[in-house]
Structures are given as structure tokens and as C-alpha cells.
Symmetry: C2
Subunit: 351 residues, 2 copies
């Protein structure tokens, strides 16, 4: 009988949401939707009905270790793995899965980001359980595919082998596609064979370790050496020395695009990567004028289509804004049109 | 030889500039233009070349006494008069002038607000000295009239008796006019006989005390009683008891509109009452895109015609605003179109 584990990747730095999200406290650790819970807390809670906290693992960077412990007191400290350097997702996943396999050789593992939104957690769990059931049967890698609802150019796509397919049905992946241009995204939407790549993977620890050993042997070699000290007092020191020597590469490039045996399950559980202020606005509670407010309850007069996210302000009065972001944190204020949000990275570069 | 004194009225609460100006720290005590000096400091400095600090008197409300002392260390504490209750300008002026007359029976007095802007202080002093010279000659009340530069509907007007007149020339006032509608303001502008009422008065202490005794005998009676304790340890207590019994009335209604012997000197010294965000914007240093910034140096991208005034914020980035006020103080943020600034009083009412 396989045992299910969950690995939540929480090392991102969320640079698109300045000043709300900063390198000191990135998006996954923020109550970005104004619900009273941070995104990583929502991610963990989504799994608790199907996975005990003792089987949930968090991989984050060292600087966020304390934040993770503070926000997720139910997760054992020993399940919080910290990376001494950011090496993208392949070494991150390898570290967690090598470690899980050592004590749980039959583990069946879900890997997912810490900062995405799911509005239908029950359907999410149904899909995850279906994927776990399938991956448990052997050397099968599953990546969850989100049924596209619009010709999104901001996501990578998964192309399935067959025709259109329904939610929860396992299908073979024929290829992965980079972020498309608008025309291609429209074709993908109409094809019925393309799904959004949500970065949610399901596999047994044995399967992914074998796949990494085959397709990314340099990383596997580092993990084999490091693992001699896993669960010992030397783990931290060894990891600090060896982990940064791993190739910096995503799991998509390192494994998914090379392995011939990748499956997907088309899913529809209200997913968003919350990667833009626009997606944030779309997923927040909005008033009759399409304004979304988090933080102190801003008083809006003649405003529409705005997202207002404040942190330390005591009172906010806004008149006559349409389609703007107003965000404040720790004395940093941003006012920017939603339509121009891609400029925010450039604006804030010297902060 | 008459001795010149200056009375600066500093009791206003500046409700139009929320959140920058609040009842705890109104406009006159703020560096509203971002010059490094508060308006009351600029007002005092304007007079120092022609009047020693020992002859400058500040009348303010009790809650601002400490603020005045902190901002104006050169003014003797004994020259700072505090009103136990706001009774408009007639009792305020009466208190100061009764008190000055007691120790300086020959005093010649300038009375002015603490929160107006003058961009040509040298010309201002020239006009004031001309007015003092004229008022020293006896029972003559002078009110400085600003030559209108636009058909302003936000000011009261002084109508002169004669034809058009030049700066610095004393002319008789025929009447005072309330804030006009737009058409009337245009007529006033074209007439050449109408001046803005800046609330700057020049008279001898004897002249104004006599005028108040004649036209506002209730206030004069209170002052006669109060003055028995002026310059004694009982002054504060007596003032606390009697001052609030004064009729609440402006000097304009109490004296200026009743007295037949009022003179004005048309002047042109770059005056603004800074009564609106629009006037503030017009009088601040502006960039090539007509933006005015005070406080932390806001980074503006694609903005024009904005006034940005921040206090405690550490960083401000604004994109794509045209013609807006962005103001912050003590954690209170206002964003409002300049064209809608008259709504601010209503927005903030419950603060």
C-alpha cells in the first residue's frame, strides 16, 4: 500500500507584486486575496483532508524557513527543507523526493507550487486522488492540465495525444508548449487538446528519482551524495555545500520534456497562478463596481475595476479611479493602471 | 513715533487638505509646498526685515500653542495668545489689539492670516510699509486688496470707489462683495475696480479698538473687562472664562462692512490663500509634466498635472495619473481628481 506525500515548493520571490510582495515576504506568504489566509496556508489546507500534516513537505529558501514555521505550525519542523541557493525546480524536487524515498520507499508524491489559487478544493482533491491512483501503478509521471477558459498567453501549455478529453480522465501527453502568442493561444483554446501547465506533478518517489537519474544525472549524482547525510545532524552542512552545485534547471526542461511517458489529467477546479494583478483582481471578492479591496476597508467614490491592497495604512479614500492598482506595504505605495502592470518590475528595480 | 506690530491669526483647522492637514496639525503648521518651511514660518519670516520678533504676536487656539512655540522659537512666549474657544476673527483681533494697546498705546498694527502664500515678499513689505505709513496718520482702516488675475469665485472682493488704480496707491473702499458667481467674477475682473479681499488689515491699535467699540460693543465690553487682568497671572483664567462669551463674528461683518472709513491699497505680490489643492498645485515647484511633488520624491511614470504630497511613506511609484491629488499623512491616504477636490470635505467627515 503506497503512502501519499505532498511537496509544496515555496521558494519564489514574487517580484511582480511590489510593494505588496517583496523578497523579504513574497507572495506565497501574503494574504494576497484578503481572505485572512496566506496562499501557502490555503495550499496546505487544501491537502489536509487527504494527507496528514506529517506527510506534507515544504521546500523553501533558507531566508523563508522561519516564515514557513510561523505560518504553518502544524507542519513538523523536520518536513521543512531549506535550499541554500535557488536552483530552479528540478533540484528542489529532487531534494524532497530523494529524502522522502529514503524513509518512505513506497511514497506516492504530489508536487505543487505554494502560491496558486484553487477555488474548488473538493474537485482539486478528486483530481489529485485520481492522479495518485494512476501514478501508484508504476513508472508513470502525471502532470495536471487545466482546461483553458481563455486564450491565455501567460501560461505554458500541455498538448495531449488524443482528441478532446473530459475532466479526470488520464491521457497521454504528446508535447509541452512554451507560452504562445495570441493567435496560437486562440488555436490552442479551440483545439480542445491543449491544457494549461499548472506545475502540479504526481508520481511515486521511486518514479521521479529514477527519471531524474536518467534525464538529469548530474542532479541525481549530487542527491546520491547528499543523501548519505539525510536525517543526520550533518544534513544542513552537507546540503549547504552540495546543493548549490546542482544544475539550475526546471523540472519541465530536465525531465518532463524528455521523458516519453508523461500523462495528464484535464482538470477544472478554478485554478489561477495569481501571476498578475489582473488575475488577482479577477479572483478577489469585488463590489458592484468591480472593485476589489484587501487591507483596511478603502472608501471608494466613483471608482470601478480597481484592486486596492493595503497593509499599514489606517485610512484610504479614493475618488475617480478606473482600472487601477493601488497597493501599499511597509510605507511603499504603488498606483498603476492594471493595463500597464507589466511595467511594475521595471519601476521597482532599484528597491 | 508709532511702533509697528504684527498680529498673525493661526487658529484655522484647514479641513480642505485632509489627510495632509488635520485638526491636530492644520495647514499653517505644515510644509505644504515642500519648501522646508511651514506656512506660519514663512509668514513670520516675511515680516522680520520690517518688524522685530518681539513685536510679532500669534493668536491661535489653545491646542496649537505648543506647536507655535516649537515652530517659531524666535517669538517670545508672551506674544503667543491662545484662544480658549474659536470665536471667528473679530474677537481674535480684539484680544490681540486690546492687549497690544495696553503696553504700546501708539502701536501701528498689521493683522494677517498665517496660512497664505506670498511669492514676492519684498513687494509685500513695500505695500505693508505704505499701508502703515497711511494708517499711522489717524483713524484709518486699511485692508490690502489683491489685483485679481482671474475671475475667481472662491474669494470675497473689495470694490473701490474710484476708477482703476495702481499698486501701492491708497484708495477708498466703496463696498465689500461676497464670493461672486462666475459671471459676476468676470465683471469684477474687467471692471478694474474690484480687488480680492486677502484678510490683511492695517490700522493703529487705537483705531481698531475704537472701531470695535463702536461697531461691535459686545466684544469691546468683554475686552475691557478681560484687559484688567492682561499681563498678570490671572490672564489665562480670565480669558478662559470671558473670551468664549464674545459674539462669534468675523471682523469683516463686525467692522469692515459697517465702518465708512475703509481704505485699500491695490497690491500685486503673488498672493494665494492656498485654499484649494488646485492653488497649492499652481504654487508648488512643478516638473516638465506639470506634476508637483512634496515629501518623499515620488517616481512618476506617464503622469501629468498631479500634486503628490506624502509624509510617512518611504517610496511612492505612480503610473498613468492625470490631474490627481495623491496625499498621505500618518497612514491616511487620499487619491482624488483635482477637479473633484471640493468633495474631500464630505469624504473625510467621519475621521
Amino acid at each position: 500500500m503506497t503512502e501519499s506525500h505532498v511537496v509544496i515548493m515555496a521558494g519564489g520571490i514574487g517580484s511582480r507584486f511590489w510593494p505588496m510582495s517583496t523578497e523579504d515576504c513574497p507572495k506565497q506568504f501574503i494574504d494576497i486575496l484578503g481572505t485572512g489566509k496566506t496562499l501557502i496556508q490555503m495550499t496546505v489546507e487544501r491537502f489536509l483532508p487527504i494527507c496528514p500534516a506529517s506527510n506534507i513537505w515544504i521546500v523553501t529558501s533558507e531566508r523563508y524557513g522561519q516564515t514557513v514555521k510561523a505560518q504553518l505550525p502544524q507542519i513538523p519542523d523536520s518536513n521543512i527543507l531549506t535550499e541554500p541557493a535557488a536552483r530552479n525546480t528540478a533540484p528542489c524536487i529532487a531534494y524532497a523526493c530523494w529524502k522522502i524515498r529514503m524513509h518512505h520507499p513506497d511514497a506516492n508524491v504530489v508536487v505543487c507550487p505554494s502560491d496558486a489559487l484553487v477555488t474548488d478544493p473538493q474537485e482539486y482533491r478528486r483530481i489529485i486522488l485520481r492522479a495518485l491512483e494512476f501514478s501508484a501503478q508504476g513508472d508513470r509521471i502525471v502532470t495536471i492540465g487545466i482546461k483553458p477558459s481563455r486564450p491565455e498567453t501567460g501560461y505554458g501549455y500541455i498538448e495531449t495525444a488524443g482528441g478532446t478529453c473530459s475532466s479526470g480522465e488520464v491521457v497521454k501527453v504528446s508535447s509541452f508548449r512554451e507560452k504562445p502568442d495570441a493567435a496560437t493561444a486562440q488555436e490552442y483554446l479551440e483545439s480542445g487538446r491543449h491544457l494549461w501547465n499548472a506545475g502540479i506533478f504526481v508520481w511515486t518517489a521511486e518514479t521521479i528519482c529514477k527519471a531524474i537519474t536518467r534525464w538529469a544525472p548530474q542532479i541525481a549524482g549530487v542527491m546520491d551524495t547528499m543523501s548519505a547525510d539525510f536525517y543526520t545532524p550533518k544534513e544542513k552542512e552537507t546540503t549547504a555545500r552540495l546543493f548549490p552545485t546542482c544544475e539550475k534547471i526546471s523540472i519541465d526542461y530536465a525531465v518532463m520534456e524528455k521523458s516519453p511517458d508523461i500523462y495528464t489529467i484535464p482538470a477544472d477546479f478554478g485554478w489561477s497562478d495569481l501571476g498578475t494583478w489582473g488575475s488577482l483582481h479577477a479572483n478577489m471578492k469585488r463590489d458592484a463596481d468591480d472593485n476589489a479591496v484587501a487591507g483596511v476597508s478603502a472608501e471608494l467614490h466613483g471608482c470601478s475595476g480597481c484592486v486596492v491592497h493595503t497593509d499599514s495604512l489606517k485610512r484610504v479614500i479614493i475618488e475617480g479611479l478606473e482600472g487601477y492598482i493601488v497597493a501599499e506595504k511597509d510605507g511603499r505605495l504603488l498606483i498603476c493602471r492594471l493595463s500597464e502592470e507589466q511595467k511594475i518590475r521595471d519601476f521597482r528595480k532599484e528597491d
